[in-house]
């Protein structure tokens, strides 16, 4: 080993605390980068392959009933490649050991296994036997959530008749990667599941022999999706079409694609913060190291070492730290990444969600961290190299101090000498102080951000399930029902009150923009469904006109007072204009509300209901449930409490894991910044501090001077970090502002307080470590040494 390399190792050994602190900060950045990017790649790759191999459709449409013969006309629409027609019906299921009714989506499949669009991957069991009318395949998520095995039986009300279905296979479909009901924000796999059943059996049961009510298409490469959708709608309109949509609006795909985009954003923003801080820390440590080794540099130059040799010597110092940091970071990143994949596999069902790590990714991580480090080290190394030997031999000139601006305002009267030392040291290196402060502030901000995602989720669930939705049970009928149904429901066991609603599928149009939605008519004095504004204050329903959720208004580019064209997608499909009476704020989905009577008038129909909100007596749930399971007119049942429970079991728990990781990483940043700054201050000012000890200052007093500076920075960084955290949260909230859900910009005081407490503790620990070194100052050496 060359002598210079031996020096390198000893320098590293001498600065091991700081080197490790920096390596850890870099490791965090790399770990997040690797974990997020590998998952981004894995998810994206799995999505592409799955969609491709299993022929995920590009255009989807639902309708009431059309004859099979229409298929040739659909196929003739220019741009259409393949057509798949199906029968899709939502029914109530009775799942063993589950008292409450479960909504099952029955989807027809060919009686013989044939290649089709949205093809199935059979995970377990076998395909259905032809003509075995009671055999079904169930989705994997649903089977797992309910502990269903091959051979188990499920009860179902199929077109008014109780039928027992036997599970013969467990399957996956690209259409239900994220298996969720369209109105929900997180999947409830216990109470919603997809079942595939033979076409003949399903057709017979629902009177769909030689007919279909669901169509999916793939398109030719150059086809214009909008044009195809337009023509398909025209073609299907007489058959009660609800309006076709493309892949982008397909709900499972929408959730999956949004998640992939967010992964990439997170995987870029957060590592950048860490690597930036790591670069800054490397810069400060290396500057100090070079400062203390001026004479050594001079000697090396005097001996004839080239600038290149000296520059690369210090760069090697940096690269060793980078190698340790990125090695550790890649390792942790791969571990976190595979854990994240396991987590994703619980929510997103792929035949195979393999955790893919490309060598290019690891090389990329290495390059990025070295790049950041070299950027940080560049100026310091440049200074070392450019120092003429004779000047380098002389000690560094004494630092220049002046009165701080605070003192120029006359504050010094109230400052003790110790406080002046602290202030002037801070002001002497304002950029370093600012960057240290920024580093700590970013750690605070990361913690606030972690708190935000928890708070926003809780707020969202709270707003949706406690303020907006107040019903215990929501029923959806399979067809619009007459007024008397309301009274039938009042007689169901345990029902305390019934508030019916009407849903009319429609396309809302304003200028060139349009959106497909179900207009919901509710009772004007509804108590089980509360319309609210941004501050969760109730909004009353106008006698006439539409109330739009503000996101929908934004998409359509409308304001209260504008008139919308409403193209109804059921019955006689009237097209009428309706004024927008006002806006409501909802965090989930998009919605358009109307007074139910106004909606009935608008439809030129008598009192008609599509479903109802029920308030029920908790003690009579079981009889109610068993009654509902046998009610043929009910297509779907949603239970509010079950949703809340589901949320707490799945989302909240995985949030907890993510929060822990965030806290650890934020602590590492805070520790890295405070420890390094204090350690450098100790090295720069050891002599000064030892002098103070000699002239009678106690260890505590000296530690106050040394760490006071860091404490000031920490205290100043906290409010900055809280503001930054709020800003980052606002950025994330804007990122999550999608049609599916909006993340409200809500951060609780507890989250702020938590961030502050964690950072203060991290600061105290790093301060404590430096304090121990400060206590061991060599007083005698100071008497003899010149700096």
């Amino acid at each position: 080993m060359q002598a210079l390399d031996r020096k390198l190792l000893r320098d590293l050994w001498h600065l091991w605390g700081q080197s490790i602190a920096i390596a850890l900060v870099l490791a965090c950045g790399i770990a997040i980068f690797v974990a997020m990017q590998t998952n981004y790649e894995s998810l994206q790759l799995s999505q592409t392959i799955y969609y491709d191999q299993y022929r995920f459709a590009q255009v989807f449409g639902q309708l009431k009933r059309a004859p099979e013969s229409l298929v040739t006309q659909i196929r003739d629409i220019p741009g259409v490649a393949q057509v798949q027609t199906r029968v899709v019906v939502d029914v109530i299921l009775d799942v063993p050991n589950r008292p409450e009714p479960v909504t099952g989506r029955l989807i027809s499949i060919p009686d013989q296994p044939t290649p089709m669009l949205n093809d199935l991957y059979l995970r377990q069991g076998r395909y259905i036997e032809p003509r075995a009318g009671d055999e079904v395949l169930v989705s994997e998520a649903f089977a797992k959530a309910n502990g269903l095995q091959l051979g188990d039986r499920l009860g179902a009300v199929i077109n008014g008749r109780w039928q027992s279905l036997q599970i013969v296979g467990i399957a996956l479909s690209p259409e239900y990667v994220y298996e969720i009901r369209s109105s929900d924000i997180f999947p409830d796999n216990q109470r919603f599941g997809v079942l595939w059943m033979g076409r003949e059996a399903l057709g017979t049961a629902f009177n769909m022999d030689g007919a279909f009510n669901d169509v999916s298409l793939t398109l030719l490469p150059q086809a214009d999706a909008a044009e195809v959708i337009f023509r398909l709608d025209q073609l299907l309109a007489p058959y009660g079409a609800f309006g076709a949509y493309d892949r982008e609006d397909q709900i499972s795909n929408r959730f999956l694609s949004d998640e992939i985009i967010q992964l990439r954003t997170h995987g870029t923003v957060i590592p950048t913060i860490f690597l930036g801080i790591g670069a800054f820390l490397l810069h400060t440590v290396l500057s100090r190291l070079i400062g203390t080794q001026r004479d050594q540099i001079a000697v090396l130059k005097a001996f004839g070492y080239s600038n290149w040799a000296i520059g690369s010597h210090y760069l090697k110092f940096v690269m060793v730290i980078v190698a340790v940091g990125s090695g550790l970071g890649t390792g942790i990143g791969l571990w976190l990444g595979s854990a994240l994949t396991t987590l994703y596999a619980q929510f997103y069902r792929f035949p195979l969600l393999r955790y893919e790590v490309s060598p290019a990714m690891v090389v990329g991580a290495l390059l990025i961290s070295s790049g950041a480090a070299i950027l940080g080290a560049f100026a310091a190394v440049g200074r070392a190299v450019s120092l003429p030997p004779a000047e380098a031999m002389r000690p560094e000139p004494p630092p220049q101090f002046r009165q701080t601006w605070l003192e120029q305002w006359g504050v010094q009267r109230w400052l003790s000498s110790v406080e002046r030392i602290i202030l002037r040291n801070l002001e002497r290196k304002p950029i370093q102080a600012l960057l240290s402060m920024l580093g700590i502030a970013l750690a605070v901000a990361l913690l606030v951000l972690g708190g935000f995602s928890r708070d926003a989720m809780n707020y969202l669930v709270d707003a949706q399930f406690r303020t907006v939705q107040r019903e215990d049970v929501m029923l959806l009928f399979n067809e619009p029902r007459p007024a008397r149904t309301r009274y039938e429901m009042t007689h169901l066991p345990g029902v305390l009150s019934v508030e019916p609603f009407r849903i009319v599928p429609a396309r809302l149009r304003f200028e060139h923009r349009s959106h497909r939605i179900g207009i919901m008519g509710i009772e004007p004095e509804a108590e089980l469904r509360q319309l609210v504004d941004r501050h969760l204050q109730p909004v009353s329903l106008p006698l006439d006109g539409l109330l739009l959720s503000s996101k929908l208004a934004e998409i359509l580019g409308v304001q209260p007072g504008d008139w919308l064209t409403v193209e109804v997608l059921e019955g006689s499909r009237p097209v009428r204009t309706v004024p927008i009476a006002g806006l409501v704020d909802e965090l989930i989905g998009l919605s358009a509300y109307m007074d139910i009577h106004a909606l009935n008038r608008f439809m030129r129909e008598g009192t008609t209901l599509s479903g109802a909100f029920l308030a029920v007596d908790d003690h009579q749930l079981d009889p109610l449930y068993s009654q509902l399971k046998r009610t043929p007119t009910v297509a779907s049942v949603s239970l509010r409490n079950a949703m809340i429970q589901q949320f707490q079991q799945t989302i909240a728990r995985s949030q907890g894991v993510i929060t822990t990781v965030q806290v650890v990483f934020a602590c590492i940043i805070a520790f890295g910044v405070v420890y390094n700054a204090a350690r450098i201050a100790l090295s720069e000012r050891g002599r000064e501090l030892a002098t103070l000890r000699i002239i009678g200052f106690s260890k505590v007093q000296v530690a106050v001077i040394l760490l006071g500076e860091q404490a000031v920075l920490l205290i100043a960084a906290i409010p900055l970090g809280l503001v930054l955290g709020y800003g980052l949260a606002a950025f994330m909230a804007a990122l999550y502002d999608t049609e599916l859900y909006r993340f409200p910009l809500v951060i609780s005081r507890a989250s702020y307080a938590f961030a502050v407490v964690v950072i203060v503790i991290a600061g105290l620990i790093s301060g404590g470590l430096v304090r121990r070194q400060c206590d061991r100052l060599d007083l005698i050496a100071v008497l003899k040494s010149r700096e």
Partner: protein, 251 residues
Amino acid sequence: MIWNSPEAKSYPDAAVSPGVIFHVCGITKTYRMGEVEVHALRSIDLDLYERELVVLLGPSGSGKSTLLNILGGLDIPSSGHFYFRDRDLTHASDAELTRFRRDCVGFIFQFYNLIPSLTARENVALVTEIARRPMRPEQALELVGLEHRLDHFPAQLSGGEQQRVAIARAIAKRPEVLLCDEPTGALDYQTGKRVLDALAQVNQDLGTTTVIITHNAGIAAMADRVVTLRSGEIIRILHNQTKVTPAELEW
């Protein structure tokens, strides 16, 4: 004052004659430097008296600095006893030594060791803030002839001026003893003499016992007594019958 020093605890009495400020009795000091055991002091006996100015003379490695460090409470002896007045400081704790340094000892270093971020006045105030009965910083600086440089930072002062600020800082607490480690070591001839003059002045005006370490034999003539060390032992103690003023010193 920003911190109140707790009341000094009582130390065991010892039979120390009046007028004696330091009583050093059979002190040895050995320490390890790497693999080597160094005998820095070998059985030193020495009394220092009130108001006297003592020069400790000796070549490098003679043990004079080690002795000064023990006198100043920066180091503890390996064996033997060491009294400050009637207090036995041989086994004093770290906190006791800190209090001793704060209340009784003024230090002057070869390289001044001023705090670069504080002005001359503030460097002195640093000590007066924690001392029990200090003089005003301005007064201390006036004593060393720096009343016109009060608000200058160390980087704005010459070496001699910096050393005089250090002297002012050392005397401002009215210490009982002033310990100076090569105070002129980093200064040129003329400036060195001015600094010694300031020390002699303080010794005369305030009556502070002053110990100056030097390997410059020329300085010895200004002392009341000259203690010469070699290889950790006192080889000679000389009483100056006729003290000269620093201005008359030659080296």
